[in-house]
């Protein structure tokens, strides 16, 4: 059976269309997507409610700490951890970047978890450094600190776009390299090659990706981590007002740990979803000998999605007028 590359091109086109706007998808995709989106929306609303309660309790916990001293510290730490867990469960660009990357690039669970944890911890650290430098060292007001945080946010979005570009270029180069090698498809007709026959010649996909993967990891952690978690900034500012520096920092550390837990779970889900989807695709006779192409095509799409996300967030952030109350 000879299908050739011509079959993969429409497949990739379909992927592009599907990822461009799932909401516009008709028919069977709608039947699959709608319940998933509904469940997601319900969850998001439930989390938003829970978050409001936690937010109030955090303020209480900080005041209790001020009044009662160290005995109340564990309450604050525990609440902060929960806040981190649920805040991260809501929609956020860190989640989007990490999930997209894991779905389209990462097959190894351990590294997926490491990226998630590092990004979450980096966000907490950025918040601490930002607030300590602007408020404690420079003596600026909290409003000025907040303005600084907004600028840092812009940088973060631009970095997300760059990461997307980097992923796209990486995937594109591997696709081109495949074509340049001239193996993979042309000789597969009529013969029974293994599913990953293309990998037998030249460097394996894993070898190609190894040095790149570390750069990607660093870039992703940086792009997410440079944006301070807004909840963390609020708690630090409040702690500062109450003159509870260390409690604020401890709370943010606990928050980051909670965030890391949630994002790691999402990352693990994405890695499993990817593994399952690739396994199912590999089982299809048409995919035989072309799995490398599918993997690289998917990587390109992931790059496009992250690039679009970064550009969208950056554009939104620039176009956004300041909130009337801030």
């Amino acid at each position: 059976m000879r299908v050739g590359r011509a079959a993969v091109a429409p497949a990739l086109a379909a992927l592009l269309l599907a990822s461009a706007d799932a909401a516009a998808a008709e028919g069977w995709t709608d039947a699959v997507l709608r319940p998933a989106a509904d469940a997601w929306a319900w969850l998001a609303a439930a989390i938003a409610g829970l978050q409001a309660d936690l937010h109030r309790q955090l303020a209480e916990a900080l005041r209790a700490l001020k009044a009662q001293g160290e005995a109340a510290a564990w309450g604050l730490i525990g609440l902060s951890f929960l806040y981190g867990v649920f805040h991260a469960a809501g929609p956020g660009h860190g989640n989007m970047v990490i999930s997209t990357y894991m779905l389209t690039h990462e097959s190894r669970l351990r590294r997926g978890l490491a990226i998630s944890a590092l990004a979450a911890l980096a966000q907490g650290l950025t918040a601490i450094v930002l607030v300590e430098v602007t408020v404690a060292l420079l003596g600026l007001t909290l409003r000025q600190a907040n303005e600084a945080a907004i600028h840092v946010e812009h940088v973060s979005y631009a970095l997300v776009a760059l990461v997307g570009l980097m992923l796209l270029v990486g995937g594109g180069r591997r696709l081109l390299a495949r074509r340049g090698d001239g193996h993979g498809q042309a000789h597969t007709d009529g013969s029974e090659h293994g599913a990953d026959c293309g990998h037998a010649h030249g460097p394996t996909a894993r070898e190609l990706q190894a040095p790149l993967a570390y750069r990607q990891t660093a870039a992703i952690v940086l792009s997410i981590g440079v944006r301070p978690c807004s909840g963390a900034v609020l708690v630090l500012l409040f702690a500062h007002v109450l003159e509870l520096h260390w409690a604020g920092i401890a709370a943010v550390a606990a928050m980051s740990a909670g965030t890391a837990l949630t994002v790691s779970c999402l990352a693990a889900l994405s890695v499993f979803a990817r593994a399952l989807a690739l396994k199912l695709t590999a089982a299809l006779p048409e995919a035989r000998g072309r799995m490398g192409l599918v993997v690289d095509g998917l990587a390109c799409l992931g790059g496009i999605a992250v690039l679009a996300l970064g550009l969208g967030l950056f554009y939104d952030a620039l176009a956004a007028r300041p909130h009337p109350l801030f």
């Binding site: 379909a14 997601w40 929306a41 319900w42 005041r63 809501g90 807004s230 967030l313």
Partner: protein, 220 residues
């Protein structure tokens, strides 16, 4: 299975995988509220039984309060003056947003006027202010669906009525009205739309309405 059917199934499998990306990415970045306001509201009437405006009390959360009053003088008189300037600034900024007050008759939005006086204070470490959002013109109430909601269109701030403080009415003699509070309950479809909308550049301001708490008036 024909070749084209098989090819079709590859396309579907890949499309399903790709479709996971926008689902995960569909959440808006700034959708969750970062400040909370406890709300109290009263509907004001004139002697002819027309609605003149909404009297609103906003009680900000402690984090917002700490943030916004940082650097303000601690001396009581100076502090009060600073709080009043702050309330004025906030209301001036809110003016082009209709003071976050969405008043509707038969689902048509009614224009609001300009807020005049404002009272403000710190209540137990929380910033409080009270003001009246006047309707541009007084509205007679009979025979229509009338309701209002106070919400931040961007949903950056969540605004809900304080528990135990349902909206009240100050009706003139001869007019009997009741107010009922409908908690926000966006349908899954609306929520999906809300999250999808937020991906476009100017939809940030269309999210809050789906999470608004509506007050409905019934008059006889």
């Amino acid at each position: 299975m024909t070749v084209s059917a098989k090819r079709n199934s590859v396309v579907k499998a890949l499309a399903a995988l790709a479709a996971l990306v926008p689902i995960l990415a569909a959440g808006p970045a700034a959708a969750h509220p970062h400040a909370w306001i406890d709300l109290v509201s009263h509907v004001g009437f004139d002697a002819q039984g027309r609605i003149t405006g909404i009297v609103e009390e906003w009680l900000f959360d402690e984090f917002y309060t700490a943030f916004i009053i940082d650097g303000i003088d601690a001396e009581p008189k100076a502090r009060q003056a600073a709080l009043e300037r702050l309330a004025r600034t906030n209301l001036d900024n809110l003016r082009e947003h209709g003071y976050f007050t969405d008043f509707r008759i038969d689902d048509r939005r009614v224009a609001v006027g300009e807020v005049g006086e404002v009272e403000t204070a710190l209540r137990d470490r929380r910033l409080w202010m009270r003001f009246t959002v006047p309707l541009a013109e007084p509205i007679p109430v009979r025979g229509q669906w009338i309701g209002y909601a106070v919400y931040d269109p961007s949903y950056f701030v969540e605004m809900l009525h304080v528990e135990g403080f349902a909206p009240t009415l100050k009706t003139p003699p001869g007019l009997s009205c009741t107010a009922s509070l409908t908690p926000p309950s966006p349908s899954p479809e609306t929520r999906r739309l809300a999250f999808a909308l937020d991906r476009t550049q100017n939809a940030g301001d269309s999210l809050g309405v789906h999470f608004a708490e509506w007050v409905t008036l019934k008059c006889e």
